[in-house]
Symmetry: C2
Subunit: 119 residues, 2 copies
């Protein structure tokens, strides 16, 4: 049982779109990620996903609208809802989702990461 | 699908030791709480619990040691581990735990809340 300092963990990596697992509970993973630019349209068929903005601003694009999250705001994206994360400038986020969730969901492309690092 | 602003939610209530449910995903609840003073020794036999400090400082007391969490730090308490949250000054926390988790775990006393409000 070890406490985690979010900013200290974030200082340990620089890569974008490469979430680090920083906690696990009840079969869920807590992840930290740095995002910049545009990700890929995808959905998670069986997993709800939570984005919490730690620093910066994130746009979550949906087929019918955009949701902009600022620091201290979060959104839960229900399973099956197609989305595209978009960050004009670097943004730091905490993710909360079931262990084993693939970052690109139903899509496989250059963003896909099969194994996540534990920071 | 509605974004949540953590500080805005926290501004809507003042009671200590009365977590508000502000999100739900994959059978888990996201809660916000204001804590001050000493809670009660308890454990959750079947649920891991995460404490993330949003503002202030929280001491999590265990039978063999204390862990102090400052702003931006979190700790996952595994199921079955007895603990006592303690806040010298008011602290704001985000909690992650399975829906239905009783705040006082295996104990029933004046702190026990059977029904949590959704903020």
């Amino acid at each position: 049982m070890q406490k985690v300092n979010i900013n200290q963990k974030l200082s340990q990596f620089a890569e974008y779109w490469s979430p680090r697992v920083v906690g696990e509970l009840n079969g869920q993973h807590v992840k930290l990620a740095k995002l910049k630019g545009e990700f890929t349209w995808h959905q998670h068929d069986d997993q709800d996903e939570m984005f919490l903005v730690i620093r910066g601003a994130l746009t979550l694009r949906f087929r019918d609208r955009d949701v902009r999250l600022n620091e201290g705001e979060f959104l839960v994206i229900p399973r099956g809802v197609e989305h595209l994360p978009l960050a004009q400038d670097e943004v730091h986020v905490m993710l909360f989702e079931p262990a084993g969730t693939l970052n690109t969901g139903n899509v496989r492309n250059e963003f896909t990461l099969d194994d996540l690092e534990h920071a």
